[in-house]
Every structure is written in C-alpha cells, then in structure tokens.
Symmetry: D2
C-alpha cells in the first residue's frame, strides 16, 4: 500500500483485519511501515507482488507509478486506487505493460466511513489481473452480495470512469438536497425546525439515502450550519464527468449546475455579475452597489 | 378513509393491520366499504370522527372537503393526505374551522412500497389535532425511531410544504442518477454493462440510496430500458417547489433542470429548438432538417 | 401622465416634443405640473381624458388606479404603462370598465435612452381604445416603420405579457454576455484586453446588439469593472416569465439560470453551499472553511 | 485563399472588391482559380506570400497546413481563418515557425452576410505578422471604426479563442430568444401573432440585436416555423467554450443550457428520461408510456 493518508491508511487496516499481510509505505515516516519504496518492493517476492497506489491524483500518482515501474519485476501487478482520470490509466497501463507489469484501476468510494462499512469498489483491467487481486477487493468491499458493492466494469480505465460518473452523480445529489434545504430554511415562518423535517425523511420516503443521513448528522451537530462557510471545493471528477458528457453529446444539466454552484461558492466576486449589474446601470439607470459599499 | 386508490387503499390496509378500525369510501363501489360519503360519516360517532381524504389533488380534493364540511360535526377532524398545494391547506382549514372541524395536512411519501415498509409522514396543524391523530400516524409511519419517519413540521400547510420540497429534491435526485446513467450508457465501448456498474453502487458508495436500488430493479427488468418511452410526467410538486424558490429568491438550478427535462420529454417538437435551427439557417446558411425529413 | 420618475418624466418630454399637450402629476411637487391628481383630472375635458399611469408596479399602481377610477368619467381612458403583472391588468380593466372607463396596458422598453431614441411599445386592449391612444404611442415609439417599434399585441394584458417575456429574454441575453466576458477575463494570459475584444464585436459579428454596445460603454468607463459590486437586482418580470414558463410546461433553462445567478449575487452566504460543504466534510473528512475564517 | 466554400468564396469576392488580387484554390475545380495548391503557391512571389486557409476545422485544416508547410518558403505567412480550436493554433504556429513561416489565427464572424456587410474579425499572432496582413483584414472588416469590427486580441491562439467565446455567447443569446419565443407561442390565447410581437422589438427595446432581426426574417418566412425541424447542430465552439469555463472554474449556466438543449434536440430518445420514467414507475406505480405507444 503506497500512500497512507485518510484513504490509504484506513484501507491498510481493513485489509489487515481480513487476515492479509499488508506493508504500507508513506513519505511520512511516522506512519510508514518501511523507510522507502524500494524496501516496500523488496519486502515482497518478485513476480508475485501487488502494489496498491493510493496517493493524490495527477503528478504524485504519476511519479509513484514511474518509481514502481523501475522497481517492480515482470509478473507484478499495480493497482491504481486514487482518483486518476480514466484516460491516464490507459497510458499508465501501457507504460507498465512494456515492463511486463500488470495494471488495474480501482475507483474507491466510501470516504472516512469505508474502514468500518467497506468501500464501494469499481475496477478496470484484464480478467486475469482483476482475478488475481480479488482477495484484496473482497477485503475492501462492503458486506452483502459482492455485486452490490464491487464491479469489474471493463478494461483498464473502466474502474475510474465508473467512479468518475459516480462522483458526478454525487455532485447532483448533494446539490439537490442543498437546494431543498435552502428552500425550507427560507420559510422558517412556516417550518421552524428544518432539521426535524430532514430527519423525518430518513425512513419510508423516496429521498432516503446515505447522503441524507449525513445531512441530518451535519444539521444535528450545527443547526443552521452557522459554523461552516459556504465554500465548496471540487476535486476533478465533477469536471471530468461534465467534459465526458460534452464529448458524448449527453445533456447533463444537473451535474453542470452542481459544478457551477461550487465554482460560484469560491468566488470572492463574480465578474459575470459585475457585468450584469453594469448593464442594468447602463440601460436603465438602475442603481448599482459600488464595490466599496459592500 | 375517503379515496381508496393506489395510495388510499394500501393505507387502509396498513392502518387496519395495526389493529385499528377503518371504514373506506370510494366512488368505485367494488372497493368501497360503504355506498356513500354520508354513510361513511354516519358510521362514526359525532365529534370523534377522523376523516382522512386521499383523493387526487385540486378539484376532487376540494369537492370532497366541501362535502365533508356539510356532513361532519364540530369536534371532528379532517386529515388531507393527498398532494394538495400547501397554500390551499390554509383555505381548507379556515373553511372547516368555521364549522368547528379541525384540519391536519399530511404529506405522505413511500409510493406503492408504503404498505409494506411504512410511509414517510410530514404533518401540519395544531398540536392538539396532530396529537389526536397520532395513532393513525403511528400505524402509517415506518418502523424505527418515530422522528426518522414522521414529523410535525409546523402549523397547517407545513406538512404539504415539507412534502412538496421533498418531491422537488426527488426530481433533482432522479435527474442526477439519470444523467449519470446516460453518460455511462454513451460509453458502451468502455463499460459494456451499465446495469452491473449501477448495481455495484448499492453498498459502500456515497450515492447509495433507495432510488438507486429502484434504478437497479428497473435496469434488471429491462436492460437498456428499451421497453419504456422517454416520457416523464410531472405531478405539480416540482412546479410548486420551483415557484417557491422563485418567491423566496432561492437559486434552485438542479430542481429547475430536472423539471425542464420532464417538460422537454413530453414535447412532440420543441418550438424553441425550431427557432434555434431557424436562426442558424438565417445567419450561417447552415442546413436545417425539414420537419418532413424526420 | 401620473408619475414623473426616470421613465414618466422622460416620456412627458418626448410626447411634448411631438407637439402634444401633457399635464404631469407627481407626488413630488418640485416636478409636478399640478398640485394633485384631482387637478390633473380637472385640467382635461370629461370623457376625452387619457390618463397614463407610470408609477412603481404593485401597491402604488393599484392605489393610483383606484384614485383615478373615482375621479375619471365614463368615456375616459387609462393607460397603465408601468411594469404591472399582466394578470393584474385584467382585474384593473374590469374595475375601470364598471365605471365605463377604458383600459390599455402598455409595456415600455428603452430605459433612460428612450427619450432620445424612442420607446419600444407593446400594448394590450380593445382595438378602439388602442386606436384612440395611437397619437401618444406614435410620439413614444422610435423612428422607422411603426411595426418595428410598436405592437398591439392582443387584448388587455397582452402588452405587459409581451414586455414581461421581453424582459425574461433580456435576463438571458445579459447573462450570456456576462458569462462570455468572465471566460475571456479568466484568460488574461492569452487575451490581455477584454474590452478590446468586446469592442470589436460591435460590427459584422453574429452577437452584435444594443446590449453589447452598452457593455462596451461600461467596460470603457471602468475596465475590469472594479468600481461596481457583483450584486444584481431583479425587478419581477424575470420571475414572472419563469413562472409563466412553468405554468405552460415550457423549458426555460437560460432564463432560469440568469434569474438564479441574480439571486445568488445578492446572498451574503449561500445556505445551499453550506449544506454541500457540510456533506463533503461528513463523508470525506474534507476540510471545510469555517465561517470565521473567511 | 485555400477553400472556397460558403465562407472562403465570399471572402475572396470581398477582398477582390477592395482592389486586391486574390488567387483561390478549392478541391472543386469548378470554383478553383488554379488546379492545385502547388500552383496557388507558385502564383505568388517567394517570401511575400500570404496564404489564407478556410477549410473545415480539424483534419482538413491540419492536412492543408501540412501541405502548405511543404510548399511555402521562409518569410511567407499563413492565416488560419477557419474555426480551429485555439490550442491547435499554438501547435500549428510552432510547426510552421520551424520552417520560418509566420502564422496568424483569425476568427471570422458574419456568416453568409459577411460579403455584403463585412466580417467581424479577431486575430492572434505577432504584431509584425498581423501588421503585414492588415490590408486583408481591412478589406474583410465591416465599415465604421476599425476597432468596432476588428481586434488583434493577443498572441497566436487569441483570435480563435475570442471567436470561440463569441460563439459560446451566441449559443446563449439564441437560446434566450428561443425560450422567449416558445413562451409567447404557448399563449396564443392571449397573443395571437408571435411574429408581430418579435417584430416590434427591433427598435427602441433593450433586446434589439441582429439575431433578433434574423428571427423576425425567419418568422416572416415561416410563421409557426412549421417547415423546420427542432434539430439544432453544434459545431464545436460551444463545447470548447464550456470546457474552457470548466478549466477556469467559471460558472457558465446559460452557455451550458444552450449547448444541452442542442444535444437534446438531436436525440431520437433520451436515455436519461427513460431512466426517470422507469424510476417513477418503480416507486409510484406511475403509468409509463411504452416505447411502442409513441
């Protein structure tokens, strides 16, 4: 296990709890089982190694894969479990295949709750490579029928592609709940306790879901969400999902709306709305609010 | 129980299963327990009656409430359990209050599954009226902690208001899943089996929900959804939720997008897109598709 | 002319410049031609009066119409030229018709530039009433063919309805320009002078328009729009247009998006985005920004 | 002039009308001035040539640029006037620079009307290269102040980038007019003649524009747009503009909505709306429309 952050560290524990031996490496020596990537590789028998990469997407993942390519041997297998862009997987797999090393991409969902409940797992790769890593996937996936928490979605890239769309949907779901929350909160004259209403949706309703339960948790911890800023990051998958929709001429208005709402949430000031306010002033003599009046 | 359709009929059974006596009336004599509304009322003791109205929203509900107003006595209670607009509840309650009859509005979620699993229930009304009807709500609501499947949301109107927003959220959730489904389906070259991917999201993932489980059921019954037309009705609550957002200056882009997608799905031809195609022809000499070429 | 604000005052001047006699009344004695509404009415011959109402929509317009109803005589004519909701026109007309007074609703576009260039004018009412007021409409409308700056759109309400949709479109147009402006401005590494690009679109391009010219004016006065706040009011017509779309099941995504962008621009903090940030923290342990860190 | 289609052919005529000598080449010998690209190049003096490429974007443009690279000499200049993606310009320029050939990218707007009214022209490249081609740009641009119909927007790529955003805005504008048109058309009970209303917006109003005039032309030719199908193509720039917005975290909801509306317009059936209809059937027992009932 290369990378022992919030995700990798928990996954190491869950796999160990299933009875497997896992050696973890992290650049932070305080949590690493070995002092270097080379020693991680050396700890395992040649040609039988499975290295799971769980570091931030982009340059860190790329550097890790290049380092592993140099250290591993033909017959070894790399699983890229971070949030890589699925088109990068195809390049990664080709680079490793040149050295006889297998490649599986794994999209992992479940967040900080995965260690306890298991991780929703979507993988891409050859049938042989996926089969070989199956004991790990079995350890990671949630209890219940395998096919309800794990899928071999297709060839290399299909795992991260499936996870990418999963996250795109997640954006839309969160935004839908958030809009509904705001509408109710805007009518405190009629509904004094938003939390009570959202709490009551957890059983029997059409909108019940795990995200809804988390929203209840958040509201119970901080009714009115006064503690938290209206600032929502985005981590790539939402953008990629929207780009994928564009490439395939698929209308995706809710996913786009959810992504744009996050973009807006992070702007100190909106250039577009300055332009709109300017236009109103120009044609209608409508009062504008000067930037220094805010 | 006035109205024994898909919802009212099942609710009668669930309340009876909880040990209560329920007399049902429906205009269809084949399913009605009594031949007339008057006999329904006569079957219950004056001043202790609780009449649950479960007929289509709008004119039928209005007519039923007027008929009940004439038949019931002071001290009786009416529960409007259909999908009424919450602003109508306030008028309904006033009309009945003139005759000393109480009024509770109840938003009911759960669809055809409610008989088995219980109905998510959101009610509005006075504390006294709600308390009086609590045995019925207890029979209807799902198992588990009461507050996770039932809420007394506020005064008259608050129940249907909460249910209205619930449905607005539901529109957004459904649309988000639907967009994600279409994006995956557009890449059958990479992911050959959409159903398998969606199925694998049921456990451990962030997007798991009851709606997702229903989507899996639908895809398992009809992979590719070939049997079904891309025609989605809307039943009022989505429109009202959006109007409520407008009235309160709440941005609601995903709910709007979901509603518009349904509008579009029902159009034989889009006048707007005819206009766009016309404009492209006018300025660019771009070829249009003539209506008779389709 | 009742109401001599930014619009009414300029219109009085334009009608006078066309050779007509106009008496203006305003609650502000400094600009009013007469001391009271009663004296305005008394200044004109019974049964031949045309009173143009140009006061803020809603309560002020309603109060003015009621006052006029009491003062005017059968055969007189009222023109409601403010931004009234078209459904109100039908009630206004009925109220005045009871006293034998005619009613025309007039939607007026052109803003502060109308005095010089003329006002785009859309009217609703009977053919007879419209014909009677035609000399005024002739004075107000821009030069050129009449039908390019004036329309008798239909019965009472049709004028304000047409103007309402005009404004809904205006929202969409402004937002489209604003988004394009922001996209260019986000790439100052490639396009150092946004104003120069927008300026160059004024002739020959597909996007040339009067609004574009106003955007050039705004950018020339304040490149970067540093002086202006990103705060955009909305004045009713956008909301009504969207509600009309909803009522008629017309998809209106750009008009909705433009309206929501204005709503967002006026929020100190977005409850919805607080909810989204909370959810991210709950499931992913993602860092949030605390409200006191802003 | 390489490529004498709808755009290139008209541009050749406009440049000639300004007194310049233009040799045109097209693969269609019926309209070509020379039999081959080689003869086009041979017709001009080495090192002083300016070759304007006006062929479809993508592979045809790329092939033409490669052919020209082999035929031209150091000191010559290529102007890419098609709808190339601006990121490709940077590669094209580098490829030609290796051979000492200059490169200017020119975004051209105006459609079939440009021959008569001139073409809105946005260019990118070095000051020297742009200056050298200025006589051509002068011939192409509309009458009036140069800066209102021409801009040197920045280095290579800035011309096509500006044109790309121009087209993105164009999508939003067209969609806004189209939505307004549909809303009015949905109320023929109140406004019997949509064309008359749209026609009246051409003078004095805030929404007046060239696109609006074209919409009037279209409606006058075909009231109700019965002849035309609701099928709207998209040509790349809208998608690229949206991707640019995503890359720079710019909210672009109207441009996205306009693009998605075109995607929808071309679908025989919407997989997403099949999924929504399926979900409604699953949870509510709502009737669906079977695909064979359409």
């Amino acid at each position: 296990m290369v990378g022992l952050g919030r995700m990798g560290g928990n996954m190491r524990e869950r796999i160990r709890a299933a009875g497997h031996t896992v050696t973890g490496y992290d650049t932070d020596p305080a949590i690493s089982d070995v002092p270097s990537l080379a020693e991680l590789v050396a700890a395992l028998p040649e040609g039988e190694r499975i290295a799971w990469v769980m570091v931030p997407a982009g340059a860190p993942t790329h550097a890790t894969l290049e380092a592993l390519a140099a250290l591993l041997s033909p017959g070894d297998l790399v699983i890229e479990g971070g949030n890589s862009y699925y088109r990068d997987d195809q390049e990664n797999a080709a680079m490793l295949a040149e050295r006889g090393i297998g490649y599986v991409d794994a999209g992992i969902s479940g967040g900080v709750w995965g260690r306890e409940y298991g991780y929703g797992t979507m993988v891409g790769g050859s049938a042989e490579d996926v089969e070989r890593a199956m004991p790990i996937f079995e350890a990671l996936r949630p209890e219940g029928p395998r096919e309800e928490g794990f899928v071999h979605a297709g060839p290399v890239g299909a795992g991260h592609f499936s996870k990418m769309v999963h996250n795109g949907i997640e954006y839309g779901l969160m935004q839908a709940y958030a809009e509904g929350y705001e509408i109710i909160a805007s009518r405190s004259d009629l509904v004094p306790d938003v939390t009570a209403v959202v709490r009551s949706w957890q059983r029997g309703t059409v909108v019940r879901s795990w995200l809804l339960e988390l929203l209840v948790d958040a509201l119970e911890q901080d009714p009115g969400l006064a503690r938290i800023d209206d600032y929502a990051a985005d981590s790539g998958e939402g953008r990629w999902t929207l780009e994928e929709a564009i490439d395939n001429a698929v209308p995706a208005p809710t996913i786009a709306a959810a992504l744009f709402a996050r973009f807006s949430s992070r702007q100190e000031a909106s250039p577009a709305m300055k332009a709109v306010a300017s236009l109103r002033e120009q044609f209608g003599g409508h009062a504008i609010r000067r930037a220094d009046e805010r």
